[in-house]
Amino acid sequence: MPGKLKVKIVAGRHLPVMDRASDLTDAFVEVKFGNTTFKTDVYLKSLNPQWNSEWFKFEVDDEDLQDEPLQITVLDHDTYSANDAIGKVYIDIDPLLYSEAATVISGWFPIYDTIHGIRGEINVVVKVDLFNDLNRFRQSSCGVKFFCTTSIPKCYRAVIIHGFVEELVVNEDPEYQWIDRIRTPRASNEARQRLISLMSGELQRKIGLKVLEMRGNAVVGYLQCFDLEGESGLVVRAIGTACTLDKLSSPAAFLPACNSPSKEMKESPLVHPPSHGCRSTHNSPIHTATGSRLTQNFSVSVPTLIYTGMGSGSAGKEGGPFKALLRQQTQSALEQREFPFFTLTAFPPGFLVHVGGVVSARSVKLLDRIHNPAFVGIMGNTRSYKLLDWNSFNSDEPETRDAWWAEIRQEIKSHAKALGCHAVVGYSESTSICEEVCILSASGTAAVLNPRFLQDGTVEGCLEQRLEENLPAGCGFCHIPYDELNMPFPAHLTYCYNCRKQKVPDVLFTTIDLPIDATVIGKGCLIQARLCRLKKKAQAEANATAISNLLPFMEYEVHTQLMNKLKLKGMNALFGLRIQITVGENMLMGLASATGVYLAALPTPGGIQIAGKTPNDGSYEQHISHMQKKINDTIAKNKELYEINPPEVSEEIIGSPIPEPRQRSRLLRSQSESSDEVTELDLSHGKKDAFVLEIDDTDAMEDVHSLLTDVPPPSGFYSCNTEIMPGINNWTSEIQMFTSVRVIRLSSLNLTNQALNKNFNDLCENLLKSLYFKLRSMIPCCLCHVNFTVSLPEDELIQVTVTAVAITFDKNQALQTTKTHVEKSLQRASTDNEELLQFPLELCSDSLPSHPFPPAKEHLESASSNSGIPAAQRDRCSSWIELIKLKAQTIRRGSIKTTVTVEKASPMGEGNFRNRSAPPCANSTVGVVKMTPLSFIPGAKITKYLGIINMFFIRETTSLREEGGVSGFLHAFIAEVFAMVRAHVAALGGNAVVSYIMKQCVFMENPNKNQAQCLINVSGDAVVFVRESELEVVSTQQPTANCQPSCTGGEVTT
């Protein structure tokens, strides 16, 4: 009996009218946890009832606390007939179970009904008293912290990163149970919502247990997904990275927060910076997966590609023996693990040693329908009784799904090995289901890791020392991890353009974020490859076979498109690569998104050469040369647009042994002429980085055209799908997270691959254009973490869902930072790891003379006594009047605070910087909950993680037209989902959700019946953040701590 859950129902407001006669409602509340239910009194005739109930106490196991949601139902009392439900609130009490997170959940929650949406709000207070040692019962894993964030959370330090944890649970989907035929849609939806909530609670608990077994205390990069397999069931699966985290003792003593993650690393006690660099990759040989061992399931393993770099030339000797040593060490650390996978996409400094390239695996499975429920406890343990409530015996053993995934992971692991890597980072898994066919996909980035983090300390000493000496700053991760004499694929290697010592590939593809200190030239941009392939409608095995035959071609084409577009942008590396393959009844869609950048360590990409097959036709040649010119112009334009001007100076200084890479070379495979002397010259150097497009049929023409039709974003806009935009780091605090959904209906006649491609391409491009237009008031601004998902809900429908965040940045400063960036990298190269010294230096040189410190001090003192309005107070503000008063106060105080900021800021900025320091105080938003897919909040510091938010909602309507059609219906639903997420965060005492993700948005409509249904699953981390401007007061009181960070902090401060 290790816990007591206490719930108090305070009041309701804005309830719907349930009694037409009086235009009022007689509301009461049922509070249910597990099998215990309490009720409040009926509050007669009011739309704003004040129940003020006693504390309802539930005495429960901590296991239950983890699995079960608290269920609050608001009803209308009816003397003569059954009470009508108004709606429900599910509260996940998990955040109350960790010691450092929230201690109380208290606030207004929207009352949600799956048919009517939000119907008023209810004020609830929830507390948990935990007794006993939390870990005594091994069935529960209270105390293990979960984070959706795919990097080490900001106010923690990673002591050990243990590695991959995964789990899945299976159950029958209530929607497909026989009872669904006789119950109402509402009951069925609620059954589903509750089941999924229960399953995710259980899943989380089980993962927690695994973490405890590994002696970790947290899961980072936790990703939980649902597979709605229809009749064959419902799978909830999760992956994550187990870690041992240490809370940083007093975050306030460190710098005011940083907007860019790059600052964070300074806070981390680990010494040496990770390298940047890149290793790229390219298409290559296809590794065929091992045959399937599965008996009852039809299964096709699909050949997968490894994207890696290509290179040539001789090996750098220096790295050799050391590399081997390192490899050995890491290997031993990793080999104990079944899957050396990490769901992280950003790492503590020094963690990532080399990156090999993207590895991915896919497999096509047939979902089986077994109608003889085996009497196996679904969860295979004592807790399965719960699921009996649902009349469901599992129709499928989780082992089957487990085996499927194990197979895929095995394949990923072997791909990584082939690349000379022992680990896979930025790892993720996904599925696409259509009827009974399911494509399982996994992808990640093969990498070599520093063993230091992987096991309990002990190791390093000398090795570490050597590591630091040997790893050139900012390019180490680009260096190839594989043996160049024994490369797994044809690659093209050169010496690193940064350190000149090690080999690098010519292109690098990865699924991770850009390492924070990677030396990047210019800005990055979002690059997408889009592809559709028609497929015959087929059944079962035939269908699966058809799909698996198509997959390799799609992978190949997606890769080619990515490569072409990357070159067209004049860039040489992709980060955050996500390839999604979606299966529909009669087509397959592929959508790859990534952020292209120019890594200084990699060679300049060659151009794109067009070659014709039929050289004798004059007009045709003319056409080709015309196209060629267009392509060249585009490349030149893009270079200018993204400010890609690799410094030629450095090459001369170092005296590169490698031929001037900026000229284009080409490899002629067909007899195309368009002769160009330079090219020939380069060829003689044996360099072959040109990319030749042969135009031999209309398909290829299409490709070239589509290359050229991608329009760059309007000026003032940038976009990327990674956390931060390379080349921009002066974010302001203005952010806007949004979700946009589009569904198009294809005209069914004569669909060809080309037409399909065009439609899909237009859909995506138009969607982006609309976004740019909508957000134009935020210019200059960058769309970060742009996340596209494609689904094919029906034969002729394509649905694209985009979630991203727009962040405004300061244009004036952008110029400066590019400069400092280069400066910094130079400095970094020369000085060694003592970064702490380095910053004060920069500080002095820049600005100290003009803005001495003393004046600032006085202001500071006066300000600190007047410090700003406490966050809590702001949150609670409920009435207009309070708001106004508060605002008045803020403004009054703001005036003082502003001065402080200005003075403080001045040491590191120029005049323009001053103008900007005022707004944040003035805007300081009241009661607003920010949401962002990023792991940080620009201009603010996260001071506390309150727990994971993981919510699943179903909305259904039988009056679609009345609700404004499909658009009106979905618009309202998504707005409601946002509202519920915000309400939960606010109730936890938080003011933001970071690493927010909409994992699923399944929309089904039946306009003829005037019906529609939508399922949405979202997750993220609830946090408390403090504006940097508010923190500065604190930091200045500790001059030692402050002077070093303020340099970086300043760039970002808003």
Partner: protein, 359 residues
């Protein structure tokens, strides 16, 4: 390829001021798109018409969802569905104008009963004023809604409106005037009143609310600011002796003339007209016991005072001097005992007349 569904939902609700205005003005989506195209936005932003169409649809959908909340602005503050920064909320309600109204429209309905019957006339008003029917409906419904909410409430009318609709002081005063006029059904539509603006009436309404309603004497009554003080109106009959008693009238006239001699450009006209003017003003007061006459208050004031003075070309300043002296002199009339009543009546009337006196 047709778009089946196309939505954009921001964590912070995006509101485009221009589109909001178009929506308030009652334009359909396609008209709004056309107007936006004409504004040159496509050239400025390089967007396509399709983008504009989708953007406009999206905003209209949002506004449609917001409208329910705008009907009770305090709900907008507490609701959780749309995250709108407080500063923006205020803009929605007031400055960009859900509760803003067109001068032309309000002049048409001012003083009319806010009932279904009037609503039926909106078609005509729309044609006459060139304001779209949708916009007319919104404005009319706003008036009606505010009226319904504050009609039977205690406390100051302006405060009540401010509190329940979160309007600025200025706009709340305008609404108070509208409610006051609607409740008392003052006639404002007659041809001879056409030269008066809504501002003129609102000014008068404010004075009347301050001095002539129940609230002026007792702040704890229902309807205090909406209904005229019946007792006071009844008492006004007593003023009649000022014109009925010939001695009193003469004495009054001589007091005024003595005081104004040499100060008035139109002295002779004033002297000649004094009795007529005075009769007019006092008779207006005496008639206010009948609802019908209350409704005609402004018609009477214009007929009996404004027009005669205007035809004699009195400058505004002379009117002011005259009215001041006219009210003040009564205090020196020994036989007249209703000084307080007179001041309550004349104080307000003087303010109104000065405001009404223009071309």
């Amino acid at each position: 390829m047709t778009s089946e569904l196309d939505i954009f939902v921001g964590n912070t609700t995006l509101i485009d001021e221009d589109v909001y205005r178009l929506w308030l003005d009652g334009y359909s989506v396609s008209d709004a798109v056309a107007l936006r195209v004409r504004s040159g936005i496509l050239e400025q932003t390089g967007a396509t018409a399709a983008v504009l169409q989708s953007d406009t649809m999206d905003h209209y959908r949002t506004f449609h969802m917001l409208e329910r909340l705008l009907h009770a602005p305090p709900k907008l503050l507490h609701q959780l569905i749309f995250q709108i920064p407080p500063s923006r909320q205020a803009l929605l309600i007031e400055r960009w104008g859900y509760y803003a109204f067109d001068e032309a429209f309000v002049r048409e309905v001012l003083g009319k009963k806010l009932s279904k019957g009037t609503k039926k006339d909106l078609d005509d008003i729309s044609t006459k004023t060139g304001i779209t029917l949708k916009s007319c409906r919104r404005q009319f419904d706003n008036f009606k809604r505010v009226f319904k909410v504050v009609e039977e409430m205690r406390g100051s009318l302006v405060d009540n409106i401010q509190q329940h609709f979160l309007l600025s002081d200025r706009l709340a005063r305008d609404y108070a005037a509208i409610v006051f006029f609607a409740n008392n059904r003052f006639e404002t539509g007659k041809k001879k009143l056409q030269y008066l603006s809504f501002g003129d009436f609102a000014f008068c309404a404010e004075l009347m609310i301050q001095n002539w309603t129940l609230g002026a004497v007792d702040s704890q009554v229902d309807d205090m600011d909406v209904d005229l003080d019946k007792e006071f109106l009844q008492d006004l009959k007593e003023l009649k002796m000022l014109v009925a008693d010939k001695d009193l009238l003469d004495l009054h006239k001589s007091l005024v003339c003595t005081a104004l001699r040499g100060k008035l450009g139109v002295f002779s006209e004033m002297e000649a007209n004094f009795k007529n003017l005075s009769r007019g003003l006092v008779n207006v007061a005496a008639k206010l016991t009948h609802n019908k006459d209350v409704r005609d208050l402004f018609v009477d004031l214009v007929e009996k005072f404004v027009e005669p003075c205007r035809s004699d070309h009195w400058p505004l300043n002379d009117v002011r001097l005259f009215l001041n002296q006219y009210s003040a002199s009564v205090h020196s009339l020994d036989g007249f005992r209703h000084q307080a009543l007179w001041d309550r009546y004349m104080g307000t009337l003087r303010g109104c007349l000065l405001r009404l006196y223009h071309d």
